[in-house]
Assembly symmetry: C2
Homo-oligomer: 357 residues x 2
Amino acid sequence: MKALQVDLGARSYPIYVGAGLLGEARWLVPYLAGRQVLIISNDVVAPLYLERARAALEGLAVDTLVLPDGEVYKTLETLERVFDALLEHRHGRDTTLVALGGGVVGDLAGFAAATYQRGVAFIQMPTTLLAQVDSSVGGKTGVNHPLGKNMIGAFHQPRCVVADTDTLRTLDDRQLRAGLAEVIKYGLIRDRQFLDWIEANLARILERDTEALAYAIEQSCRNKAEVVAGDERESGSRALLNLGHTFGHAIETGVGYGEWLHGEAVAAGTCMAADLSQRLGWLSVRDLQRITHLMGRAGLPIGPPPGLGPERFLELMAVDKKVKAGRLRLVLLRRLGEAVVTGDFDPALLRRTLEAA
Amino acid sequence: MKALQVDLGARSYPIYVGAGLLGEARWLVPYLAGRQVLIISNDVVAPLYLERARAALEGLAVDTLVLPDGEVYKTLETLERVFDALLEHRHGRDTTLVALGGGVVGDLAGFAAATYQRGVAFIQMPTTLLAQVDSSVGGKTGVNHPLGKNMIGAFHQPRCVVADTDTLRTLDDRQLRAGLAEVIKYGLIRDRQFLDWIEANLARILERDTEALAYAIEQSCRNKAEVVAGDERESGSRALLNLGHTFGHAIETGVGYGEWLHGEAVAAGTCMAADLSQRLGWLSVRDLQRITHLMGRAGLPIGPPPGLGPERFLELMAVDKKVKAGRLRLVLLRRLGEAVVTGDFDPALLRRTLEAA
């Protein structure tokens, strides 16, 4: 078991990464606010892991809520079902919400925790690679709006994150690859050495070598924890974690939630951000090829779906949360291992990236 | 014009109280986050004051949203309309929401500001006595759930509060009286001198004497600001502001939102809390009579509606946010001018209060 820490003063919390953690009380019970717990999961994960998680909470007042799986359910309507469950079972302000599932369950349960009775405790038990390396850490919670992804939400830090690598055994290949997009992201934006490691060990990861997966998760969480500790509410450097996300969110909204997995959209978006970075003269053609080659080897898309033309893309990107005083800002790569947030680029070059994609 | 300050470190903000403030740019413009503004109002207040508020924001990108008036619309569904408006008009993270109306508009707009793109700026322009003396100050935002009032929400402080006393001229008598319940509350929980002043000046307030109203608002805001500064997120003493609210919320939920005004329910709830305090030997019979007499003179109910029996009352009170480890806690009066939060009372006495009511 590896333990990392997200340093946020009074809101600091541990991340536990390892095999078999899910059924063990000691990673959960010390972080509960009281004796009431609501475990929120989805109909894919619950049959596999819900009883194991519940067993770790024996003797406490545990309720469960199983939601339908999928990004299309990350809505205010589903959120209302969580509030219904909490109030029907009379959960008080000292309850704890436990998110057992992927990014959708984590974001939605976290937002429910942020807003139920103006804020209650919650714990993340991510069961997908994407959630283990990214969405379960850092306190971003929320739901989608038909006009934009994650447009409704709050910052609300979990009490702890328990990433049981055993759960990745049942993860389907497409989901595993989607998670890799975010792993590669850390290498690209701030950790050149990790990028080299990923390139050298990609085959082992895809074969689900336990040790390689655990190392990838640990290094990803370490990078994320460092960034979040430096800028909890994204007033600056935290935005660098969104490499590929402005393009990616446009793809997700444009094709309809759930068609593309988040990680797939981020992979395509990262290649587009790299393309623009190359046009700006920041990356070499060879750097760009290295990125698209790595994404391709990971089985991820390296461009947007056909039919999402430049005009529609620009329209979808205009609602991005990084837009400031009406100006679109993007995370781009200064070089491999170094990202910047900038609105200072020639719009004609962005258009060429969109046309070439 | 009177200026008060809510001291919350980096989240400190001013409260401006006075006549004619609504149409003046100087109380608003310095507190905007950017050039985009969404004014949220309701269909009673908007015809009277929306143009005046909009005129103060000339030259900026101002959108408006007029919601139906009433507590029954303080829901997640109405909240969604605010997000629709923000996204349709492409409001960025540097937008500012302005709440122009009573407590419902303020609570709902504030919660929208707390959760749109994980938090944007907002300004309170309360137009009812209740909102001016209570709900616009302190950062409690939220909406109701069919099973409980204010069960979904967040703490999110405004950038400033602009209370234009001129708006009280068009307020109907019932709304004015409902606001008085919260004014009387400050006297009862922590300001004996103010309580004496209210008793001596009630007739002037009910006649809408400008000077008396301004003084009542100022003293109420000062009391509220002091309490909030000492306990922003209600981990302790702030709960004292909820005198009468546990009983009151049960009445509001029990009779259906909008039947009783919030202030009316609080008035009845305060009399019930006083009744229990007397049964506990903390208030004299004379103290209790003084409270019910003052509420009665203010034209407010001094007990719950018929038909809401003790069983139903206890059931409704069980979802209160102050319930801790399954135990109901109430704000009661130790003496006139001093409140306590306690779960340490004989349930039989509470039952007698409910039966006698």
